[in-house]
């Protein structure tokens, strides 16, 4: 009987499925068309590059980190902390006259420290990821205040900025800005990692059915440790990019990305047929946010109305996607 009813059920499911999955790309397309129609300055190569470099890159990197944690069934509220730690170590070492390579490595390790702490809390102590990473966020804020005399930024003078850092932030390879190469490699790397490697499939299994994954003998604990280390490491890359761009470390600047990264990750889940977190979906989500922020500016909305506009748009995308999810279930 189940077999007999299956085809019709699938048939009926097709339309809601399509609406659900196409919602995000469609929203992005509509937004792009709208801005192209309403502002002549929008669909211009220089503006599009500016959207990608200024609005997209950092949030996309942080959101990839978030997607990893969410895919494993958790969340990482301390992505901003890892970003800040990386930035703090990188900039302080450069300011102290250390070579670029050492500073880069130290920055990545600084970010990893936050991830290691998360992994310890989540895997060894069994604290839920939300609370564990929230604790890390709070402790990280104190660490930054204590090491910077209450949150005084560290600025690098022009003379101290290594050429490699300038290249990382403002250079280009084959005419394409370096940050775009970095973000593109991360997108490809983590799309493949999550989708096409045993590790990625295990992470998805842990995220969907933690108990089943456990009883099936998957190395759940080891994989979760890796997830939070990787998440912190990716966030640390964003921290290095940010410091190289502004030639400074500004305490607790990473938290600004947190909520948008969560938003982009969950908006991105609509791209997957089963509603699971996935890197391409997250990237489209970030792109949507970036385009809207840029476009609203171009059509003359001030910063304040931009916030409202972006917020309402995210809200509507979420409503549409969850409503179609319900519709799909009902069908």
């Amino acid at each position: 009987m189940a077999q007999a009813t299956l085809p019709t059920a699938q048939h009926r499911r097709r339309l809601p499925d399509l609406v659900f999955q196409m919602g995000l790309p469609l929203a992005l397309l509509l937004v792009v068309l709208f801005f192209a129609w309403s502002s002549p300055a929008f669909l211009v190569p220089s503006n599009l590059e500016s959207v990608l470099v200024n609005n997209f890159t950092l949030l996309a990197i942080v959101s990839i980190a978030m997607t990893l944690a969410v895919a494993s069934g958790g969340i990482d509220l301390s992505v901003g902390t890892a970003l800040d730690f990386a930035s703090l170590l990188f900039v302080s070492l450069i300011a102290a006259g250390q070579p670029f390579g050492i500073a880069l490595l130290a920055g990545l390790l600084g970010g990893l420290a936050a991830g290691l702490f998360n992994a310890f809390l989540i895997v060894a102590l069994g604290i839920t990821p939300f609370l564990a990473t929230l604790g890390t966020l709070f402790i990280g804020r104190s660490v930054q205040q204590l090491t910077t005399g209450g949150g005084i930024p560290i600025y690098l003078s022009k003379a101290k900025v290594p050429e490699a850092a300038t290249f990382l932030a403002h250079g280009d390879i084959l005419g394409i800005a370096t940050p775009l190469w970095v973000v593109a490699s991360l997108i490809i790397l983590f799309t493949v990692l999550l989708r096409a490697t045993p590790f990625g499939r295990r992470v998805t299994a842990i995220g969907v059915q933690p108990a089943v994954a456990w009883y099936s003998g998957l190395p759940v604990r080891r994989d979760l440790v890796l997830v939070y280390l990787l998440s912190a490491l990716v966030a640390a890359v964003a921290g290095l990019m940010l410091s190289a761009t502004v030639n400074a470390y500004v305490p607790s600047s990473g938290n600004a990305f947190l909520l948008n990264a969560i938003g982009a990750t969950f908006i991105g889940t609509t791209l997957d047929r089963r509603g699971r977190p996935n890197v391409p979906g997250t990237v489209l989500g970030v792109l949507l946010l970036a385009v809207v922020a840029n476009g609203l500016l171009l059509i003359g909305w001030n910063f304040y109305w931009q916030q409202v506009g972006t917020g309402v748009l995210i809200f509507l995308v979420l409503v549409a996607s969850f409503a179609s999810r319900r519709w799909r279930k009902a069908a």
Binding site: F130, G140, S142, Y304, L318
Partner: protein, 332 residues
């Protein structure tokens, strides 16, 4: 998280009760120890003036955390899929801006109060719609609403402080009966009313049932959706109340209210350890808010750098949560 506890059998329940008692006694002891330590080292700490002032200063955080607690009670304790309202702090910012803007526009307190309450309720209604009618994860729905509310606040204030001062606001900020600040009285009265409402009335008990045993509540014929929706409205209303207190306390709107959010989350979650069954309760949240208030105040009096405060808060939640999760693992 709580299902593990409920599945535990009779003797295990005894064991659990013992463990919970130890934890609760432990956290109360920690609270008392902190108070004793500060009173021993900072003589001014235990003075009536300081004590009542700390309670008054905790009022705004506590009232926001009450709203959050009601949402968590009705939505269940799982922070990602259960109930949570990330929009409370932004809602407070928006409501405070509305209040201050109306006063600046020459409106009276009555109009300002009503409009502020309506604003808070509207934000709550948006959450309720998104969570209950559409079925968006509360974490996500309230995050989106938070962004909209924060944006509207910016539009209204253009990121400046709107000052507001009326006799009514000054009265809120004054010292009341028995030399206790009115803010402290308001906090205590709100807490008592809410404790009675949530712990001792049929409505409150049903709300707890909806949060802890959703399916059972549904099977028993409770209008689950209506209860959950109501929690977001309550939370919105409390944000508005907190906003009025905040406008009184700061003599105007403030630009940094969004930063209250994490403190509110921590307070509501920390409150769990002050309850017998390790569940969110209004009384527990009140104690947690006061604990955090006294901790900050003691640090200040001892001249310990305020830079430590957020780290200690973070360590505190981790300690508490680690203790509860170890306890829970032992039972299962």
């Amino acid at each position: 998280m709580s299902t593990v506890i409920e599945q535990a059998g009779g003797e295990r329940a005894d064991l659990r009760r013992l463990g919970a008692l130890a934890l609760r006694a432990g956290s109360l002891l920690a609270f008392v120890a902190v108070l004793v330590f500060f009173s021993a080292t900072a003589p001014f700490f235990l003075s009536f003036f300081n004590f009542t002032n700390v309670i008054a200063q905790s009022a705004i955080l506590a009232i926001l955390a009450f709203g959050m607690t009601v949402v968590i009670i009705g939505g269940g304790g799982n922070v990602v899929t259960g109930g949570i309202d990330l929009s409370v702090a932004a809602n407070l910012g928006l409501c405070a801006a509305v209040y201050a803007a109306l006063i600046q526009a020459g409106q009276g307190d009555a109009t300002a109060i009503l409009t502020t309450m309506a604003t808070g309720l509207a934000v709550g209604a948006a959450n309720a719609f998104a969570v209950v009618a559409v079925g968006i994860l509360p974490l996500l729905a309230t995050l989106a609403v938070m962004n909209v509310a924060a944006g509207l606040e910016l539009v209204l204030t253009e990121n400046t402080v709107l000052s507001a001062s009326t006799p009514f606001l000054m009265a809120i900020n004054n010292v009341g009966p028995f030399g206790v600040p009115n803010l402290a009285w308001i906090l205590l009265v709100v807490a008592v009313v809410l404790i009675l409402l949530v712990q001792f009335t049929p409505v409150g008990l049903r709300l707890q049932a909806v949060g802890e045993h959703r399916e059972a509540a549904r099977a028993a014929g409770l209008p689950v959706a209506r209860y959950v929706a109501a929690t977001y409205l309550v939370s919105g209303l409390f944000a508005a109340l907190g906003a009025i207190l905040s406008v009184a306390y700061l003599s105007g709107s403030s630009t940094g209210s969004a930063e209250l959010l994490l403190g509110v989350v921590v307070t509501a979650l920390l409150g769990v350890v002050f309850s017998r069954r390790l569940v969110p309760t209004i009384g527990g949240t009140l104690l947690a808010a006061l604990f955090i208030g006294f901790l900050g105040n003691g640090f200040q009096l001892l001249n310990i750098s305020s830079y430590w405060v957020s780290g200690v808060q973070g360590a505190l939640i981790l300690l508490v949560v680690a203790a509860t999760s170890v306890l829970r693992r032992k039972e299962s």
